[in-house]
Assembly symmetry: C2
Homo-oligomer: 180 residues x 2
């Protein structure tokens, strides 16, 4: 499933513009699927080319026309087919963990700075989750609630783990420079 499909899925919730979708990527989808304008706008063009969405141009003053996209029946069929994949992946690419693997080559303060930065990022996610909850999710489908809970659970686990184990990394580097 790529950005195209996720955009299409978002449109099942009602018509939206590329700008709207970007906001949704930043808020609710941000913690597990990122996308910027550079992939969203081309995705919407592609979906329109394939008649998976229709586009209504709403004239505005002082701004470009707002383009409201709506999912079509063909689009819905396409989405349903994409959702039939029972083996969707869950990929992690962590420069953070890769860095930590080589902590023994780093200076103590540097390691702790990396850890602090990671904790602050986790804190931002937790804040995001709180905001979502405060805006009310009673009308949300169960799947979306499940995903939010998943994000919270993983964030909490990461935070706890880092706080409880960072002390083990508070040592000096093993500077074995040209000693091979």
């Amino acid at each position: 499933m790529d950005v195209k499909t996720v955009c299409l899925g978002m449109l099942t919730d009602g018509p939206a513009s590329g700008y709207d979708l970007k906001k949704e990527f930043e808020s609710s989808f941000g913690h597990f699927f990122a996308a910027g304008y550079g992939s969203i706008y081309p995705a919407l063009s592609w979906l329109a080319d394939h008649q998976y969405v229709s586009c209504e141009e709403i004239p505005q003053e002082g701004k470009p026309d707002r383009k409201l996209y709506r999912i079509t029946e063909e689009g819905r069929q396409f989405l349903l087919k994409a959702l039939k994949n029972t083996k969707p992946c869950h990929k992690i690419r962590s420069e953070f963990l890769a860095t930590m693997c080589f902590a023994h080559l780093m200076e103590r303060e540097n390691i702790q700075a990396v850890l602090d930065h990671r904790l602050s990022e986790i804190g931002r996610y937790k804040e995001l989750f709180r905001n979502i909850e405060q805006e009310g999710m009673s009308d949300w489908p169960e799947g979306a609630k499940f995903v939010l809970g998943f994000g919270k659970a993983v964030a909490a686990a990461m935070e706890t783990y880092i706080k409880e184990n960072r002390h083990a990394l508070a040592t000096e580097p093993t500077a074995k420079t040209a000693a091979g």
Copy 2:
């Protein structure tokens, strides 16, 4: 930090071939940083071009020469500089969670199949972790132990969350086809 840098980091542990590094990506690094031959071999070529590694070709019969790469002092400096970045990212791209967001459009058995598949993937990671632990990690640097523990903690959190919350997704789809 990209595949090049991670390969270079792996070589601080001793000389290795592209094939060796691939195995390491599959085992210890697999749960947070994936790479295939298509990125490893070009990465090693690039590192050699920049004198960050040296290459010793070991003739073999019936197989291509084994190319043993060693990190150089320049390479070590390059790596150290890369590790100074205090803001390494930790990216997740989850088609699994994206799919679950649209669970209300899916059939019950399909949802449960996706969940089962995810649990089986998590099981594979847990097995991987067990294998690593059985092979002994007493000589591992603290950072590597930290990373392994991190993987275990996150995997456990995901598994628990899915098992405890999957029942909420055991409902029928809200098949609102062309009712806009």
